[in-house]
């Protein structure tokens, strides 16, 4: 077999509206284990960016450390990537976003990288409503160091070695809701039909868009008794709604029965359509999201779908009242106050 992807493309491959084929959004060949949930998420990211016709150089992909944080190598090869240090992707992304508000920031992290070592930075990125997509590839274990339990491992979940986790799990989606995240979704790496539109909606959202994606670790956490295995998740999944992302000015092609659909308009003219599985559920009601999440947890179910969105979200640059021109594009003439101003500064200190 080959470890290098071919660079030539079939001439008839379909292209998106800016002339890129789907293959142009792919990355290097994955070095993760065969069947790793993370690879499916990477494929969903590729699919979402291709369908949305994201300009590859207008997206920056950032990550921390761990199996999940390796994945930016495996998608969007034409985008700049930054594999930073363990648990610190949010701060690097914050700085990058302050420097240039015009790019899309896609942060990828894992449950160790976010729920343990990086908890502080995760929490504060939410507080600031940083305009980014934050994907946690959540497998409940530390894959790269051979399968130790992570802080998202469910209470009572059994590890491959047969030991039972006796600690409470951190529910990242629930936490994000509590902390005021303006977009919170949960999905499953094995459900591309749900994940792709969720990623698209997250990219469109002007603020912190959090996606907790359950992504089984085939090597260390796919055993009987694990609550993050493919089988367990498939058996216990419950969706809030079928989700459809509708780009700006596009025809709505999905038909919903009367009273069963909800529409959320996004700032760029796009919208999210939700086919409600549960009556009385409103995606822009934080309280109802918290309640639904808690109820599912009590029942032992994995609630997926878009849990909450704030269509009025104001991101960090808006909150700080920064100029529209990206700060990294300014030079001496815009930034240096010059000698005359310095003369009066000097005088004020005499």
């Amino acid at each position: 077999m080959s470890y290098i992807k071919p660079t030539f493309r079939h001439p008839t491959l379909p292209k998106n509206k800016i002339g890129f084929a789907k293959a142009d959004y792919e990355g290097k060949i994955s070095t993760l284990c065969a069947g790793c949930g993370h690879d499916s998420i990477s494929a969903s990211i590729v699919q979402a960016c291709y369908e949305m016709a994201v300009e590859p150089h207008k997206l920056a992909k950032l990550s921390g450390i761990g199996c999940s944080s390796k994945t930016p190598t495996y998608f969007l090869d034409n985008s700049h990537g930054f594999n930073s240090v363990h648990g610190r992707m949010p701060s690097v992304t914050t700085g990058a976003y302050m420097a240039n508000r015009d790019l899309i920031y896609l942060g990828v992290s894992g449950d160790g990288d976010t729920a343990s070592i990086g908890m502080g930075q995760f929490v504060h990125a939410i507080r600031r409503n940083l305009n980014m997509v934050y994907i946690v590839m959540n497998n409940g274990c530390y894959g790269l160091t051979k399968g130790q339990d992570s802080a998202t491992a469910d209470y009572g979940s059994i590890s491959k070695a047969g030991s039972k986790n006796m600690f409470q799990a951190i529910d990242l989606a629930g936490m994000a809701l509590e902390l005021g995240a303006t977009f919170v979704g949960r999905s499953f790496s094995g459900d591309k039909s749900q994940l792709v539109p969720m990623i698209k909606a997250a990219i469109s959202h002007p603020g912190f868009a959090f996606l907790d994606v359950i992504s089984p670790c085939v090597t260390f956490n796919n055993n009987n008794g694990s609550t993050k295995s493919y089988d367990f998740v498939r058996e216990h999944i419950e969706a809030t709604a079928a989700i459809d992302y509708v780009p700006p000015k596009a025809q709505i092609s999905v038909a919903y029965a009367e009273g069963q659909s909800a529409e959320v308009k996004l700032h760029d003219g796009s919208s999210i359509h939700l086919s409600k599985l549960a009556p009385h559920w409103n995606p822009s009601d934080r309280n109802s999201a918290v309640n639904r999440l808690q109820a599912a947890k009590t029942k032992g179910e994995v609630l997926t779908g878009l849990l909450y969105i704030d269509p009025e979200s104001q991101d960090l640059h808006e909150l700080q009242n920064t100029v529209g021109t990206p700060l990294n594009q300014m030079g001496e003439s815009e930034l240096c106050p010059g000698n005359e101003a310095l003369d009066s500064i000097n005088s004020s200190f005499r």
Binding site: S91, H124, N328, G338, N346
Partner: protein, 612 residues
């Protein structure tokens, strides 16, 4: 009793209670002397506390322009009963102790070798001001008023300062002036004025300004085009952040839209602060943080990332007493080694050592150019003494034709015309490679930034040969850095000597004064002030030229000396430690005494000019 007599050469110390509003009055005192044209250096000696604990403000007045701290207090202004015993003991024989005699002093603390000058500060304030808070506040102005009489301070100059200070609250001018008058009148009516200590107007400050180093640092960052500041509060660096924000509000807001041309983020901790800086510089902005020793410890992992992945960053380290939480409100130079080699693995970093606010301004601006040019973290090594005290400094200077050196950053056009791009290819053979910023070109120039080992094309590798090639190339940048950093300043003795003194940063003030004191002892020395690390050849030559070099620094372990030995293979026996680490700025007397005591050639050779 002999009283101290001195004109324009003495030390006044104010003993106050923290949070009692004394700072403003004390600052006016120092400023008035400065405006009388007499060189002055005030220092805050303050506790890590907001209200209630003893705090001192020490002002050295020195016509010759020596601005370092001097031991011994000629006149104490005592307004704090908590510290009165210690304060009385601190006055030099023949000195003056000005105190609030609203309450009588206990007999047992009275010394008969100093002059006691009682001013009923509280009583007069209770008589003239109704509001208790005002009674408290104006007490501070009463002692400043008394000083106009006691040391002949120009009252008109003081009144001008009051008028400027309260230009926006003119109602406060008359009560302030009244306090001045109360103090001055009482002093004149009850004591011989002036005392033996006397100010005389001079023209010895030229175009100098009085400014805190941290304010100058912040202005340097603004002038250098820093657009992102991320920081976490820590004494003594917090005022850099505050000054950056305050000045940006004046200098960096679009007048039409009111929108900010800067981002100012108070991070959740120092780790996040440096992470934000690295994210911003990676993305093409100029960004910086300000911190102190504990912050450098916390930032170390990220510093290693920036070093290895070759991302520019500017860090201001306003040093304070360590280790651990140490003495957070006292000065030291204790982070030399921990900053020079911050982070795990083989790392070393460019350091700049300012000694005046003007240099804080200039070196901060230079730090941004160096960081961009070398694609590496650059540290400005200030300290609490420089950062948080007002210093008489040459004015801040900027050349309007100055162009930011953004280093090797490729544009879309560059990429279009290139045959191949490799992020870590040493195209120019100076160790510095070309970088691209996200968003530059749709299909060219993207690469993966990582803290893992990688090859010239930024691809992950565990190949030992490739790794060695990369880290050796990064070391080549270190040689390039030597040609870019500011060179040391040297002051040669009039006669040949076997001795050199070597120092950096705020030690400058006292080291230069010590040269004169040593001269009086018959010891000539050549002096070198190092401005930067890596050390340039001049430093090596200076050490080679002398039989002994006294390395003067403000830490216990002679860290700078270790750095010289480690980096230059200097012979340890040649480098003699001169140290001060009690948290107070080093004094000239201390330096002189240590050099006299440690002089290895004493007594016969020391003072004789040699032929070498």
């Amino acid at each position: 009793m002999l009283s101290i007599n001195a004109v324009n050469d003495f030390v006044v110390r104010f003993a106050n209670v923290n949070g009692s509003g004394s700072a403003s009055a004390n600052n006016m005192f120092a400023k008035a002397i400065f405006r009388m044209g007499i060189p002055v250096s005030p220092k805050n000696i303050f506790p890590s506390n907001i209200q209630g604990l003893p705090t001192w403000y020490e002002v050295r007045i020195n016509e010759k322009g020596y601005l370092g701290r001097r031991d011994g207090v000629d006149m104490m202004i005592s307004v704090n009963p908590q510290s009165i015993v210690k304060d009385i003991a601190a006055v030099k024989t023949g000195g003056y102790f000005v105190y609030d005699n609203t309450r009588k002093l206990h007999n047992e603390i009275i010394r008969d070798d100093i002059n006691f000058i009682g001013i009923p500060m509280m009583r007069m304030c209770m008589e003239h001001y109704k509001d208790p808070r005002k009674q408290q506040l104006f007490k501070n102005m009463v002692y400043v008023g008394a000083l106009t009489a006691l040391i002949d301070m120009d009252e008109a100059v003081l009144k001008n300062i009051i008028a400027e200070q309260f230009a926006k609250k003119p109602k406060l001018i008359p009560p302030n002036e009244l306090a001045i008058k109360l103090g001055a009148d009482y002093a004149r009516a009850n004591y011989e004025c002036p005392t033996g200590l006397k100010l005389e107007t001079r023209d010895a400050v030229g175009d100098h300004i009085m400014i805190e180093g941290n304010e100058a640092t912040a202005l340097g960052a603004i002038y250098a085009g820093a657009t992102v500041m991320a920081w976490y509060p820590i004494t003594p660096s917090t005022s850099v952040a505050k000054a950056f924000e305050t000045n940006c509000k004046k200098l960096r807001v679009d007048p039409e839209t009111g929108k900010k041309k800067y981002a100012f983020v108070q991070a959740e901790d120092e780790l996040a602060a440096i992470g934000m800086v690295i994210g911003a510089t990676w993305n093409g902005a100029r960004a910086f943080t300000a911190t102190s020793g504990p912050g450098i410890s916390l930032m170390s992992e990220f510093i290693g990332l920036a070093y290895f992945a070759e991302i520019p960053a500017v860090l201001i380290n306003v040093q304070r007493g360590g280790p651990s939480t140490g003495m957070p409100t006292r000065t030291q130079q204790p982070d030399i080694i921990s900053t020079a080699y911050a982070s795990h693995g083989d790392t070393k970093h460019v350091l700049l050592f300012p000694s005046t606010p003007a240099e804080c301004f200039e070196m901060t601006a230079t730090a941004f150019d160096l960081a961009d040019r070398l694609q590496t973290p650059v540290f400005v090594m200030s300290d609490l003494d420089l950062g948080m005290n007002n210093h008489m400094s040459p004015p801040l200077k900027w050349d309007d034709s100055r162009v930011y050196d953004r280093g090797k950053v490729l544009t879309a056009e560059d990429l279009e015309n290139m045959e191949e791009f490799g992020r870590y290819l040493d195209v120019d053979d100076d160790g510095v490679c070309y970088r691209t910023v996200p968003g530059t070109h749709p299909t060219k120039g993207s690469f993966f930034t990582r803290g893992t080992s990688r090859d010239e094309y930024a691809r992950y590798t565990e190949d030992g040969q490739v790794y060695v090639r990369v880290v050796d190339r990064i070391l080549k940048k270190w040689e390039t850095a030597k040609s870019l950093v500011p060179k040391p300043q040297v002051q040669w003795s009039e006669s040949e000597t076997k001795f050199g003194i070597l120092f950096f940063g705020t030690t400058n003030y006292s080291a230069l004064e010590a040269m004169e004191l040593l001269e009086e002892e018959g010891i000539q020395v050549n002096a070198m002030r190092v401005l930067a690390f890596p050390f340039t050849t001049e430093v090596e030559d200076f050490i080679d030229k002398h039989e002994y070099v006294f390395v003067i620094e403000q830490n216990r372990d002679a860290q700078f000396r270790s750095l010289l030995i480690n980096e230059l293979d200097a012979h340890p026996k040649k480098l003699i430690r001169v140290l001060n680490y009690d948290g107070m700025p080093i004094t000239a007397d201390n330096i002189k005494n240590q050099i006299v005591q440690k002089n290895p050639l004493a007594p016969q050779l020391a003072s004789k000019p040699t032929a070498s």
